[in-house]
Amino acid sequence: MISTSLLTEFKNLLGKDNVLDSESDRHAYSYDAAVLDAVIPELVLRPTNSEQLGKTVALCNENNLPMTVRGAGTNLSGGTIPTKEHGVVILTNGLNKILEINEQDLYAVVQPGVVTAKFAAEVAKRGLFYPPDPGSQAVSTLGGNVSENAGGLRGLKYGVTKDYVMGVNFWNVEGEYIKSGGKTVKCVSGFNLSQLMVASEGTLGVFDEIILKLVPPPVASKAMLAEFNDINKASETVAAIIANKIVPCTLELLDNATINYVEDYTKAGLPTDAAAILLIEVDGGHMALVEDDAEKVLEICKKNGARRVQMAKDAAEKNKLWEARRNALPALARARPTTVLEDATVPRSQVPAMIKAINDVAAKYKLQIGTFGHAGDGNLHPTILTDKRDKEEFHRVEQAVDEIFDVALKLGGTLSGEHGIGTAKSKWLEKETTKATIIYSRKLKKAVDPNYLLNPGKIIGG
C-alpha cells in the first residue's frame, strides 16, 4: 500500500492533478493493446518536466515501488501492463516537447512523450524526413518507439527506429541522469548505451531526452500492385527484386484470406481469387530513376509469375492501391470480436515456408487466420480472429501462437520483428537465444536495477 504521506509527497512534487489515484483512473491504466489480463496499478503519475521525471523515479525507488513507464500504451506485448504488486504507472504524455530540430546537422532532440506522427509532420514542414512509421504512429510516442524498436512500412529501405537513434539520455533507477550518444554523426565515446536502451522496454532506465537522426526526403515515388495465383511465386518475387539490387521503400504482402476480408469490408474491387498480392513502392531523389526502377520491378513481377500488375499513374491511384493495405487490420478486426495480431519474422527466403506453416496451423486448430505484413523484411503479421470469451477456442489460439513461434524459430527467424517481447513472449526468449543469454541479460539488469523495480517481469522475466 502506498502511504498517505508518500501520496502527499507525490502531489507536492507533481501537482495534485498529475497524481491519479481514484479507482476509475487506476483501472484505465491496467491494460495496453495486447490481449492479456489487466493488472491495476496502485498509482498513476504524470511528470511534466525532466526534473519531475527524475525525482519521481527516485521517490519510487526509495519506496521500493515497481514502475512501468507508459507512452500511448499501444504496444502489443504487454509492456505497459503494470507488475503484479504495488505497481506504479509513470505517464510520459506530459513530456511532449520537441526541444530542437536542427536543419543544418540533421538531428532532432525530443522528449519521450512526443507523438510519432506529430514529430514526423513537424520535421516534414522543414523539408526533412523521419522515416519510421509504425501503423500506430498517429498515437504512439517516440519513447515507446525507441523502447520497442518499432518498425513500419518503410523498414526495408529506411530501417527501423534503432537506425535513427543517435543518443538517449535517461534516468537510472536511483534517479541519476545518464547520458549516451550525441549529436555528431560519429560518436564512439564510451559504451554504446543508446543502442542498449533501444528495445529495452523500460527495464533499464527511463528515457528523458532522445536524439534522433533526420534524413532528406525522397522526392519521387511510384507504386504498384501485383497479383499472384501462387503465394510462393509472390514470395520468390520479393527475393528476386532485391537480388536485382532494387530496394523498394515498401514491399507488402496480403494473403488470400486477408484480401477477402478487405474486399468484404471495402468493396474496392480486389482480386479475391488471387493467392496473394504484393504492394510495392519505389522512391528516390529523381523521377526518371524511380520510373526506371518501377519498370524493372514490374518486369521482375511478370517474370516471376504475376498474373497482372497494376501501376499507379498518379497520387490518387497510388492512394487507392494503399487503401488495401491500410484496411488490412480494420477489415480483419471487424471479422470477429478479438484480434490477436502476431509478429513472426523470418529471413526473406523463408516467407513462403512461413506462410504455408501458418495456414497449416490455422487448419489444424480450426482457426481463422489472415496474414499480411512486411514481406520485404520477412516480417509477417499472422492475425488470428477469435473471441476471447470462448475459453475453448482461445485455448486453441494459444496453442496455435506457440506453434507459429516454433516454426518461425525453426526457419531461422525471430519471435518479434517489431512488437517487442514484454510479458507476452518472455517465456520464448530462451528458445530464440540461449540459456546463457538470459542469464547474462539478467546479470546486466541486476547490476543496474538490483531490486528489479524498472518494469519487472518484462523481456527476461521476474
Binding site: 476509475s24 500511448a72 500504451g73 506530459g94 506522427a117 500506430s136 471487424r334 470480436p337
Partner: protein, 429 residues
Amino acid sequence: MTQDVHQLAKMLQELDDQMVTCMKCGMCQAVCPIFAETMSEGDVARGKIALLENLSHEMIKDPQGVQDKLNKCLLCGSCAANCPSGVKVLDIFLKARVIVNTYMGLSATKKAIFQGLLTKPALFNSVLDVASKFQGAFTKEANEIIGSSCSRLNMPVIGERHFMPLAKKSLRKLEPARNTLPGKSGYRVAFFPGCVIDKIYPHVGQTVLKVLTHHEVGIYMPAGQACCGIPALASGDKDSFDKLVKRNLEIFEKENFDYLLTACATCTATMHELWPLMSGDKTQSMRDRIAALSAKVMDINQFLVDVLKVAHPVEGHGTKVTYHDPCHLKKSLKVSEQPRALLKTNPNVEFVEMAEPDRCCGSGGSFNLQHYELSKEIGTRKRDNIVASGASVVTTGCPACMMQISDMLSQHQDRIAVKHVIEVYAETL
C-alpha cells in the same frame, strides 16, 4: 448496495457483445477532443469501455467514478469514426448512460427539466416565452456582430458565458404551422425546426421555409412538435426520451411526405440514428413506425444538394466564409461535401477552409453545462482556427455549434459573424 451493484453489472453485460470488439488499440486517442485536453486514458473511448467492462464484471466497486468518466464525453463520435475495429462507441455510451444514470438516479434539476418541462412542450414554450421578456433585465449586449449577450450580474449558471439571447418571438409564434402541396419540384417535406432554432434562431427556420418555398417544395410543419429527445437521452433519461419520440411520431404520422428535414445536425442524427437504436424495448409495430419515420429524416444541406441538385459552384469573390463541420453531420451522417457545395454557389462568397474543420467545437449539449472549463478549452482551439482562416463569417449546420462558436468568438471580441449555411445559400435566391 452490493446486491445493487450486482444488478447494475448484469445490466451492463448486455453491452458485452459490443464492448468486446474494442481491441484496446488506442487509436481513438488521436481524435478525441477531451483526451487532447486532459491526456487521461479514462477520458478516451478505450478507457471508458474498459471501465464499463470492469464494472460489468464487478471488478470496480465505485459506480460513481465510472459515471463521472462516462459523462465526461461530448458524444461527438470522433472515436467511432476513426476506430479500426468499428466499435459502435456511441451506442455503447448512450445505452450505458441510461443504465448507469438510472441506477445512480437523475439529479433533481435534470428531473425537473426533462420530466417536468421538456416532455410538456406547451409548458416548456410558455416558460421560455416569459423568460424571453425578462432576460434583458439581467443581461446586456456583448458583441453586436454576433448578437450575443452576457450577464449583467454575477449569475451562477451563466457565469462568464457569452450566450445567444432567446428570440423576442419564437419560430412557433412567427410561423405557427404550414401545410402546403408540392409545386414544380414534386417533393413534399416535413420540417422539424428543433428547440434551438425555434427559440434562439427563428430566422434560420424562416430561411429554411423561404428556401423550400422558393424551390417549390411542399411543406408540412405541424404545431405541437416536441424536442428530438437528445438532451434527455444523453443524461440517461430514457423515459422522457421515449415520451418525446412518441409525441413526435404521432404528430408527423398525420400526413404524407417524402423527407423529414431539419437544419439541426444534432436533431437529424438523433432522429435518424438514435430513435431506431433505442427502440429495441418497444413492440414490433412501434419499432416499425419509428423505423419508417426515421428513415425519412434528412439534413437540409443534403436534401438541397443530393435530392434537389441546386448547388452549381461559381467562382466567388467578396466575403470570406469558412465552415465548421458539426460532428453529428460529418461523423454520424457523413454529410460534409454538401454544405460546402451550397456555400460555393454564392457568387459573393470566397470559401476558405479552416484548419481542422471537423474537429468538435466542444459544445456537446449538457456537457457544456457540466464541464464548462473543458468545453471552453476545446472551443478556444476552434475559435483560433476560425480566426486564422481569415474569414469574416463562420458557417455551420447545427444551431448548438452556432451557440458555442458565438460564445468563444464573442468572449475574444472577434468581429466574425456566425451563420447557418442555409442563410448564406438563401442570399443567392
